[in-house]
Symmetry: C2
Subunit: 384 residues, 2 copies
Amino acid sequence: TYSHLLLAGLGEDPGKVTVLVHSDVDLQPTNRKDVHSHVDLQSTRRKDDLSLLPWVHVVEAFQAIKQPLPVNLKFLVTVAEGTAWEGGGTLNFTCLLTSKKRFLSGVRYSCITLDRSPGTRFPCVIYGLRGLCYFTVEVTGADDPSHSDAHSGVYGGVLYEPMGDLLFLLNCLVDERGKILVPGVLDDVVRGEEPPSRDAEPDVEELRSTLAVPRLAHKEDSRRLLLHLAWLPSLTVHAVEGAWSGPGARTSVPLRVKGHFSVRLVPDQTPDKVCLRFIEYLNKVHRHFRRSPNAIRVELTSSARPWVQDPDDPHLGAAQRAVRTVLGGRPILTRAGGSSKMAAVLQRATGGSVVALPLDLDMGGLKVLAAYLHEVGQLDTNWH
Amino acid sequence: TYSHLLLAGLGEDPGKVTVLVHSDVDLQPTNRKDVHSHVDLQSTRRKDDLSLLPWVHVVEAFQAIKQPLPVNLKFLVTVAEGTAWEGGGTLNFTCLLTSKKRFLSGVRYSCITLDRSPGTRFPCVIYGLRGLCYFTVEVTGADDPSHSDAHSGVYGGVLYEPMGDLLFLLNCLVDERGKILVPGVLDDVVRGEEPPSRDAEPDVEELRSTLAVPRLAHKEDSRRLLLHLAWLPSLTVHAVEGAWSGPGARTSVPLRVKGHFSVRLVPDQTPDKVCLRFIEYLNKVHRHFRRSPNAIRVELTSSARPWVQDPDDPHLGAAQRAVRTVLGGRPILTRAGGSSKMAAVLQRATGGSVVALPLDLDMGGLKVLAAYLHEVGQLDTNWH
């Protein structure tokens, strides 16, 4: 996997507000051989890629009606190729921060677009996202990596089977209601904090039918569901990599297995601290409770800080007005459960405010972006 | 997957003993398009396929030296295509049993060849194999099978995640030392029974280094290791099928996951009874202890009865003499941990005795087979 960073600017009018637009282009592998040398927008097919093209169309729209852009625009495009979860892959953000003086100077407002709405039909503006720690835990039975498996008919019964250890470890992460069991991880979760009434509670029936599950957790109470969707951490085990993943039945004893899980974090939790707790916990459980001679290795393969913006920031008000102008009704401010590496990074790097707009093209997404630029252009230009 | 049964005979001399030879040809998918219409031995590359060709060579050898075969031979070839574990795939044995009168009449002795030696360097003759129950357990979150996954950023925290349920269930199968925790499953395991001294205890150091593991189970006591290798049941979790098995990290919540595990059985256990216990147990654990609203489905996808032969049967003595003639030393009689569907089936269908020869071509395997036919030819022809 590769990561690239593209920076671009449009306009340097000192009388205008400067808005930074972030988009993440994840190039999935295509048939094209030259994908590494060209950032070919046509080669990308992910819904996330909607985050860049609409901005191009909006700029073209202003040009078509011969109107000047109401703001100076800066584009920050992160390009990950066939990797990872949303938000910039393995990008090293140091390069961004060191170039801050030149590129980020004057940026007061940043906007990221999300392809996923936070599970509500209401038009909304997002002022917070959960962070993320993505872990792998590998259990290795054989010292020699070329020993990938044994045969259960020949050796079943005399081995400390790595799969058994992995199942035990993964089963110790959360209880049946999804509560994280790792000591200390929930210490920094502000207990009293609750979604204010502006955060829309999900429609339980709609949520259940979207997921097609028989029953949701937390007694299907809409307020508690909102809490667990965006205001509390969650943990998901994504996969167990074993010896074999094809069809049919094999009777091998995998001697090297790897579990994948991720934890969504909320403000006041930091990936560093959470990561340490998990590594410490899993090693302790393995050594003291499982007491298996197999080796384990816990790795943090990706992380993102949680992000939350002061909901009273005028920037969010401008975004809400833009949504209302286009879609009508009363757009809500809300926090969502997804993660974006760049939200917290931009907040820290610019010292300004960040807003996330869920971009639903069916719901007039392009017009919302144009209206957003218009509204932000009216804001105070006094900055620093 | 397809299964076929090939029957062939060579010689009908009433003055000779009739020996049935079983071999299992597992056709792995090849590049050839016509693999379904031809049983092409060259298209098979599995070590197991050694079980048929050597017999052909042995017959040719007798012909080359112009010696009559010392026995009447019957070939029973089971052909599975790209399936399952050893021993005949999804073959329906009814067809074998109903044709018993014609094809199996007069068969007193049956021989199966195994490509896997039971973990000992000593030449040996095998008089017992463990049985097998192969299970899958599927946990389904979404009612609608087209809902294959959700996104942990959007929905993490409000779902009863099927993976969590599956990990919990699989973790309840055995304890950390490999003891099966399912009530009743060990009831039929004869406790007092122990390997007699003729059964060779494994060389601990050799076993450990073959597997390249840091430590074996059961305190690395060679007698206890032998017990667990062949005289006691074992359970292995082979794989967890999740939503994704490719490289990289995905943050999906699989809504349909499936675990694969198998249980090796010992005499007095029957697949039917064991199967019922497992299905009952997993459903009970899920309903009463996990209390998740997700649906589970436990399936027995394959099974084999355990097989054990009276070690005093003269047939085994003949096989031992054959091994001694070719390889020297004192071949041991032993039981092994693998499984063969046909061993128990042939024992029941013929009413005669069955022997298994581990076929190591480096150790003069072909000569052993020829010597075996010679020795069996000397046995009493009075039968029925």
